[in-house]
Symmetry: none
Subunit: 424 residues, 2 copies
């Protein structure tokens, strides 16, 4: 695998005055081209770059530098490059011409420094500013720091050059997955296991298997299976599906509610909810999408016992005898809001988010769910979440309600589904 | 000048999957403490850190590392540090105890790696996650990568330690503030202005004024005024209060609902809500606190027109003629839920979260609020949020409802309040 490194130069960056954004853009594009970005170094405009480049030129195949090309005396990137590559700086007549067109008679000594290019390097014209970049194609590219200038050159000149040099077939193929309701550390375990199992099943050495990477988001984890072959990537995906259980890992960049919405749209359904421990979070997630009022009627957040009785007609006896965290209560909540709303489908959630309020029978993390509709009747299930924190129990409960609602609409047996859910 | 370096470890960073934000925060704080940040290096979770640290330990006075402390096999920072400092890794019993409290019986081999600490290093407890950090005070600090964990340790343990070591007593003094409903860039502007104004008013040079730093959280920004004198810090605070308007900046580390809860507890009140565009987010925030069912009855998330009519008895004519985003609708929503719940106080929210659905009269970002109670009658106000995104309009609307509810309970005139709110 080709190695690359980024040098981001700017005193405002190391002083924490401005936020660097170049590194992410460049690293992401280089990764997609199949480079392994080995290091990103941010240094001030003080000559440190010489030492950094000195180290990198012998260690990596490709170097990209940004910044330090301005006309002021502390912009010393061009001198550093010339020194490292042991060539003199020479005035580039075409670049001088272009600069003259921009600056006109105000062209001065300082400006002229900007068109001094290390001998043997190719000039990269700057369509957005005064400082041109320069490169040794495929080896080192030196770009100005201002984002508009840098990005125009990166997309317009450098990416095309790199893609041309790499030729066909070197772009790294990958499979993007979306994972729900799975703590990061559990997903890592599951991925390692899925890769091992697939490698054994297909009699492939582990070194030939896809690599994986994750990006944790608020209500899901994006998972990438990269390299290897399409068949093996697909197989690892299916093994992982088997390990986590149904509907928790999906192909593509899927938001939590995307597949539920497909069902709601296809079947033209309206949904109402009744929430206790999640306090409205399920409804919030369901209405994250613009235009959701077409399918989402609303949700009755009945946090107090009294609200469950008054709005949803949960019986006083149930609450007294079995409590709000019970099959009977969530059944009545789901059926109550179905009647109240006149919707096609309803869901309900009631559980113990903690940190207190748990008991031996109903520890913190116990959450009951029910779903009701004329078509599929009433179904309830109970999940026991690891009680990492109140917030995390509430989040996983709301996510579960949405995943289970989708399965309920499809007509699945929810007990079957949750019995296959591992690592929640 | 003391030299510092930052090592940011994370494979997702060098692959351009996530954007680093640690570097700016740490560099900014270190610069303010008088350090010169000589280098920021971002490397993957693959052992590269050994080489980087090897180079840095002899070149700089202070090293901060973040990332690579998780339980997975590629999190190898602790091994690297032990190797560089030529000490063994030893199990820290206190850290193991804390981890056991969080993870319980599910404590496994991978988890246990997290409490192996290089011998002679001091453990830095992690109040937000499972991986503790460790340090040699004033020399090297090793922190986990997740922002919530890293920032809590940085502000809670490391900054105080560094300030203590620097021995500049005045730097140590600070005033902590909590800021609500203010975009970060606007807060920076407001702080700069407040410092300038106070400096002019007290005839003090800018160099003698307090420094400020911010930490952006999901529903608030923590703001620190540091150094200078107590009088000037207080004055900057009051000037800032004047600039942002009432109840948006408060002394101390205050959660969004803390002051509202003080009111509810003091007066023994129960609250019910009626939400449209926020889709349950206000109720979710109100129930983030354990034990909230004592004061929070619930919230009727009436997303569809029909739900507003059926549950809250909003009149069909109002919805037809004035629409759901109107004074008349929010009045009826608040009064409807007050009747339905029998609570002491109610609130309602209805607005246009976007991205579509706006008009010339009611652009995206227009949100109406009403509050009702037998004691204070019904009051409504309208806010126009900058329509950064659907999510951001919804978040600011929910936060506003909570801040306004508190003011309503106190008996303030809400029109007076919102007319003084700048930069929303």
């Amino acid at each position: 695998m080709r190695q690359a490194a980024l040098c981001i130069i700017g005193s405002e960056l190391v002083r924490g005055i401005i936020q660097d954004r170049h590194a992410k853009t460049l690293a992401s594009d280089l990764t997609r081209l199949g480079y392994r970005v080995q290091e990103i170094t941010i240094v001030p405009d003080d000559g440190s770059i010489v030492e950094v480049l000195d180290r990198l030129v012998s260690n990596v195949d490709l170097i990209i530098t940004t910044g330090g090309l301005g006309p002021t005396s502390d912009d010393i990137t061009r001198d550093a490059i010339a020194r490292i590559y042991e060539v003199p700086l020479v005035l580039d007549p075409a670049a001088r011409e272009t600069l003259f067109e921009i600056v006109g008679d105000r062209l001065n000594e300082a400006n002229l420094r900007q068109v001094m290019i290390p001998e043997g390097f190719t000039v990269i014209p700057n369509t957005q500013g005064t400082a041109p970049g320069f490169c040794r194609s495929g080896e080192i590219y030196t770009l100005p720091g201002p984002p508009k200038e840098m990005l125009a050159m990166w997309h317009g000149a450098i990416l095309p050059d790199l893609i041309r040099l790499l030729g066909d077939g070197t772009l790294e193929e990958r499979l993007e997955l979306s994972v729900f309701l799975t703590p990061e550390s559990q997903l890592e375990e599951a991925c390692a296991l899925a890769v091992q199992m697939t490698s054994a099943q297909f009699d492939q050495p582990l070194s030939q298997m896809p690599l994986w990477g994750t990006r944790v988001q608020l209500y899901r984890i994006s998972l990438y299976l990269q390299g290897s072959t399409a068949v093996l990537r697909e197989q690892v995906f299916h093994t992982l599906e088997g390990l986590l259980g149904p509907s928790r890992v999906r192909e593509g960049d899927r938001e939590l509610v995307d597949d539920l919405y497909l069902q709601l749209q296809q079947k033209g359904l309206t949904v109402a909810g009744a929430e206790s421990c999640t306090g409205g979070l399920a409804a919030k997630l369901l209405t994250d999408r613009p235009g959701s009022s077409q399918h989402i009627w609303g949700s009755m957040v009945t946090y107090a016992y009294e609200a469950k009785e008054r709005v949803l007609k949960v019986s006083h006896e149930t609450l007294e005898q079995e409590g709000a965290v019970s099959a009977s209560c969530v059944d009545q909540m789901a059926e109550g809001v179905l009647r109240l709303s006149g919707c096609d489908v309803s869901f309900s959630i009631s559980g113990i988010a903690g940190p207190s309020g748990g008991s031996e029978q109903k520890p913190v993390g116990t959450v009951w769910f029910a779903f009701a509709s004329p078509e599929h009747g009433t179904q309830h299930v109970c999940l026991s979440f690891r009680p990492f924190s109140r917030d995390s129990v509430r989040r996983r409960a709301a996510v579960s309600a949405i995943l289970l609602l989708e399965q309920y609409i499809i007509g699945e047996n929810l007990l079957d589904i949750v019995s296959q859910w591992q690592y929640i």
